[in-house]
């Protein structure tokens, strides 16, 4: 089964902690925000997640009637910057990287 990235796991857990979401709702919300921006839960990294939290997530939380969505996202961004996200699992190559190599040969 495809593994989600440590960044995804961390943000979903943090969102569950800072909102009234249960585990399933938190993971689903992060997953939907990533899908909207064309990112994958299995490969999203810290830098891209920070952009999603700043630009997309507030509206996602507002749509789900979460109070103070901007403040929740600011907290998540602040904590994510210092989170320990050591990832030892080997990552699969993204399709676009494989095709970039083939096209630019």
């Amino acid at each position: 089964v495809t593994q989600d990235s440590p960044t995804f796991e961390w943000v979903a857990a943090a969102l569950e902690k800072h909102t009234t979401f249960d585990r399933l709702q938190a993971r689903g919300t992060v997953r939907l925000a990533l899908r909207k921006t064309g990112l994958e839960p299995g490969s999203v990294d810290r830098d891209k997640m920070l952009l999603v939290l700043a630009n997309v997530m507030p509206n996602e939380l507002r749509a789900r009637k979460i109070e103070n969505p901007e403040m929740v996202c600011e907290t998540l961004c602040r904590e994510l910057k210092h989170a320990d996200l050591r990832d030892t699992t080997p990552r699969q190559e993204a399709p676009e990287d494989a095709f970039r190599r083939m096209f630019n040969n």
Binding site: T2, K48, L51, P95, F99, R101, M102, N105
Partner: protein
């Protein structure tokens, strides 16, 4: 009509063999699986299709006819198998359901290697042939493997464009070339579908399936054009993409 048919067939054979060899040479340097599988798919599919439309030399023995037919089926099926592994490895690595679909489609494509061997005496006439479940399994697997690649490629290029829109990277040059690659493999799926429709029409209505040759060669030409442009886009296109990427960053 004959000239258009030949143009489509020649274009597809040439483009497949040139791009396939190029990717196999790349795979020799990089030792990476994606280029090896796509290269094998293009070379094998191109060879199989070439043997399909190039007539057997005059006066050849029945054995040569049989070997020619089996070689064509073998290479076309080999191209589909390489394509299926490529889709699995590039787009769906580590997803067990994709492995099951790939396994099922590979089993279904096997009768295409030597239809008469698999069908035996159960499908003697053209009508019996097109009604046989193994023939339908072969058609579904060949059309399905290229259609799957097309859908995954189009989905990935749409994802890259979304990333770009949100300022999250997203290489628009690769997105544009993936769009062409997706359209190219989609046209190849339609080409396979046209050959199936042609066989059904020949069996049901009779004749040589004339108008369907227009579709087959048309899709062959469109497929070749899209695949070629994906690998060799006009310089102006790349310059525009580079400019828009730098302005976005």
């Amino acid at each position: 009509m004959l000239i258009l048919g030949l143009a489509g067939a020649c274009a597809y054979s040439l483009v497949s063999l040139i791009l396939g060899m190029r990717l196999l040479l790349l795979a020799r340097r990089t030792r990476r699986l994606p280029e090896l599988l796509i290269g094998l798919m293009l070379v094998s599919g191109g060879l199989g299709f070439t043997l399909y439309w190039v007539p057997v030399p005059h006066g050849a023995s029945p054995l040569v006819h049989t070997i020619w037919g089996i070689a064509s089926g073998f290479f076309v099926a080999g191209g589909c198998v390489a394509m299926l592994f490529a889709v699995w490895r590039i787009f769906r690595p580590g997803e067990p359901w994709a492995g099951v679909v790939v396994g099922a489609l590979i089993v279904m494509v096997a009768p295409g290697i030597a239809p008469r061997l698999f069908l035996g005496s159960t499908a003697q006439s053209a009508q019996e042939f097109v009604r046989h479940p193994l023939v339908w399994a072969y058609w579904i697997s060949t059309i399905g493997s290229y259609a799957w690649m097309a859908l995954e490629s189009l989905r990935t290029q749409a994802r890259l464009r979304r990333q770009h829109r949100f300022g999250l990277g997203g290489d628009l040059a690769v997105a544009g070339r993936l769009l062409l690659w997706g359209l190219g493999t989609g046209f190849k799926a339609l080409l396979f579908a046209s050959t199936a429709v042609s066989a059904i029409l020949r069996a049901v209505v009779g004749g040589s399936g004339g108008p369907t040759i227009l579709f087959i060669s048309g899709f062959g030409l469109l497929c070749s054009l899209c695949l070629w442009l994906a690998f060799f886009p006009p310089r102006g296109y790349l310059d525009t993409r580079q400019r828009s990427a730098s302005s976005a960053s």
